[in-house]
């Protein structure tokens, strides 16, 4: 029996405190049915605490959380069969094979008609079905975790940092699986600190920092409403310190990148023309130029003043 609700997740004034530490500080948000909702923030921002409260694993200190129209603190037994969860740092029984693990979880959910082969195929693990969990690589393990999260054909899928710790190739493989879920129209609650992941998959992005949501909108809207500057990248024919000095004297703050690229943040389009003219007059040999609106990560940096993650393997890195 499915209750028809426009919002499958409704969080109001949620707070979670551990002693003196305020992990989640009075946040509110809603997730629509069928959308991919990304919770974006650096490590320790409160993403996992929030998602685990919504998934019924943790209890809130205060606030209201409704999932599929039910209070998560009171209706765990009714909620759990209708959701799928890939917890952070997912792990499974070492000596149990991929297929056996899937069978085990399908039995826990009482799914007699679970399409185990179909799910194994969906996550591209067909040739690993008889492999024990302990022999799988990180990417394969995460894909198994996603397949398990889908074993009960859930109405809402929670994926907590599904690609953390994976190499770029394994990460792309997981993204392909997640894009498949998006096409199927599943409601997905994704937590990530990889901007690319949110950009690729999310319909709505909520940016969380130090336990508070500091911005939340559709991806396009979020960038549009915060993009009050442009990024000019000028590529020189050869290394030339003069170009750097010229731009600096005009009152801008150029950033030298790869010795031949100069990045300049400008407020108005006419500033671009001024900079290019000044360089021409100074005889700086230009190779090419590029003007972009800031991306999500730059927006994040602007809003929070902190980088999304320390390693830049998954994103483009803060500039």
């Amino acid at each position: 029996m499915t209750t028809e609700v426009e919002y499958v997740i409704e969080v109001e004034n949620l707070t979670k405190r551990y002693g003196s530490l305020m992990a989640v500080d009075d946040i509110s948000f809603k997730v629509r049915q069928g959308e991919v909702f990304a919770f974006l923030g650096p490590n320790g921002a409160g993403k996992t605490t929030t998602v685990e409260i919504v998934e019924t694993i943790r209890r809130p200190t205060s606030g209201k959380v409704r999932l599929l129209g039910m209070d998560v603190t009171k209706k765990k037994r009714d909620i759990v069969p209708r959701i799928g969860v890939l917890p952070q740092g997912f792990s499974s029984f070492d000596r149990i094979t991929v297929r056996e693990t899937m069978q085990y979880y399908s039995r826990l959910f009482g799914c007699r008609n679970a399409d185990i082969d179909g799910l194994i195929e969906l996550v591209n693990l067909k040739d690993k079905a008889k492999e024990r969990y302990m022999k799988l690589s990180g990417g394969l393990r995460q894909r198994l975790g996603i397949a398990i999260a889908l074993v009960n054909d859930p109405e809402v899928v929670f994926l907590d940092e599904p690609t953390t710790g994976l190499d770029p190739r394994a990460r792309r493989q997981v993204w392909e699986v997640l894009l498949g879920l998006k096409k199927k129209g599943k409601t997905v609650f994704l937590t990530t600190h990889y901007m690319e992941e949110a950009e690729l998959l999310a319909d709505t992005v909520a940016i969380i920092s130090k336990g508070k949501i500091i911005a939340m909108d559709s991806l396009v809207q979020l960038i549009e409403s915060n993009a009050d500057y442009l990024l000019l990248t000028v590529t020189l024919q050869s290394v030339d310190e003069k170009a750097f000095e010229v731009v600096g004297k005009m009152g801008f703050k150029p950033v030298l990148n790869n010795h031949r690229n100069i990045n300049v943040r400008v407020e108005r389009a006419e500033d671009i023309r001024k900079i290019l003219n000044a360089m021409k007059e100074a005889g700086v040999p230009l190779l090419s130029m590029d003007v972009r609106k800031p991306n999500l990560e730059q927006i994040f940096l602007k809003l929070t003043g902190e980088a999304l993650h320390e390693d830049t393997s998954g994103g483009r890195g803060a500039e």
Binding site: T56, I57, I83, R107, G110
Partner: protein, 371 residues
């Protein structure tokens, strides 16, 4: 409780166990090795010649005969103690664990028994012994056996030589018979406690418990599947231990319905304690240390290896507060002494303990990550 869920979890545990060859090896062979090592040590005691101090207060030819007979049995090397010396003081001063005292009126009583055919005549042989000595019980058993033979040889009438210091329980069985039930109780305790603590701490550390908490399996289902799993392992290891005991040491034990009952109570109690420990201890390494801290006092103070009578009085009192004591005594009551009434009372006590620990164990199992 959902039997489908319990069954599915049990199958996963058994497959993991079967595929972890080293765990499987140690679960079944460790108790067998214990039995073989200790059994051989105790069996060897049967061939050992013991030092025996004898104080003959009668100093007659007849009383000398009894000492001679003990020496001729080949089991004792006799040392005579001056009748004028206080036997207790002598034992203390010379670090002797047993002094056998032949009473003053030995010959007189003997004559009355043999010549005047008086069935009421008897002598009381006194053992002055050190209960903390590990070999004294065996020595006393051998003496009792010798006196029993002596009584048989005299006539079919009431026994002439009597000893009053020895508990009647320790009279009629070999140490190995006493030892096997203790080892079974201990092996099941160790496997249940370690199994429960190690598996659950590991699963919690790896986040598997957190994943399970987002599925319909309940805490009770999980704990029950753990108990069933440990019970099956206990059945396997007990069968292996008993087979080896029968084959190698020719033990004479009574196998009846009490055995599985005490094993399941053993499992319930220690899986429950394991669940409580898992709640208290965060890391797998400290969990193993905490399990050891519980196992070792139980192992040595609950009478698994040695009879309680050998311990100082305050330790005996302490032992009676340990759950393993009641499992040991219950198994011995049923397997060795065939005393159903005693087995019933021990099972009632440990049954209450098991139920309480199990309930606390379920309550203590963390299914949600904090409050």
């Amino acid at each position: 409780m959902n039997l489908r869920v319990v069954g599915a979890s049990l199958v996963v545990s058994l497959k993991s166990f079967y595929r972890e060859k080293t765990t499987m090896f140690f679960t079944t062979t460790f108790p067998i090795l214990l039995i073989l090592v200790f059994g051989t040590i105790f069996m060897e005691q049967d061939k050992v010649r013991f030092d025996l101090c004898v104080q003959d207060l009668d100093q007659t030819e007849t009383s000398a005969e009894i000492a001679k007979a003990l020496a001729l049995s080949g089991r004792f090397k006799l040392t005579r103690v001056d009748p004028a010396i206080d036997a207790t003081q002598y034992a203390r001063d010379n670090n002797v664990n047993l002094v056998l005292i032949i009473p003053k009126d030995y010959e007189k009583s003997y004559m009355q028994y043999v010549q005047f055919d008086d069935p009421g005549a008897f002598v009381n042989i006194t053992y002055v012994y050190d209960p903390s000595s590990s070999s004294v019980i065996t020595k006393m058993q051998l003496l009792n056996l010798a006196f029993a033979k002596m009584n048989q040889g005299l006539s079919a009438k009431s026994p002439f030589v009597r000893t009053s210091e020895i508990s009647i329980h320790t009279k009629k069985y070999r140490f190995i018979d006493f030892f096997i039930p203790g080892i079974i109780a201990m092996a099941v305790m160790t496997a249940s406690l370690f199994g429960s603590v190690n598996v659950n701490t590991e699963l919690r550390q790896k986040g598997i418990i957190r994943k399970l908490s987002t599925t319909p399996i309940t805490r009770t289902d999980w704990v029950l599947s753990n108990i069933l799993y440990q019970f099956l392992l206990a059945v396997i290891s007990t069968t292996a231990m008993l087979s080896v005991s029968y084959a190698v040491f020719d033990v004479r034990l009574q196998i009846n319905a009490w055995l599985p009952l005490f094993i399941i109570l053993d499992v319930f109690t220690f899986v429950g304690i394991g669940m409580i420990l898992t709640r208290i201890v965060k890391e797998a390494q400290s969990a193993a240390a905490a399990a050891n801290a519980i196992i070792f006092p139980m192992m040595f103070l609950s009478g698994s290896f040695f009879p309680l009578e050998m311990m100082p009085h305050f330790l005996q009192t302490f032992a009676r507060a340990l759950p393993l004591y009641y499992i040991n005594e219950g198994l011995r009551a049923s397997m060795v002494f065939r005393d159903n009434a005693a087995a019933l009372s021990y099972s009632a006590i440990i049954g209450i303990v098991a139920a309480l620990v199990f309930i606390v164990g379920i309550t203590a199992t963390r299914w949600e990550e904090g409050i």
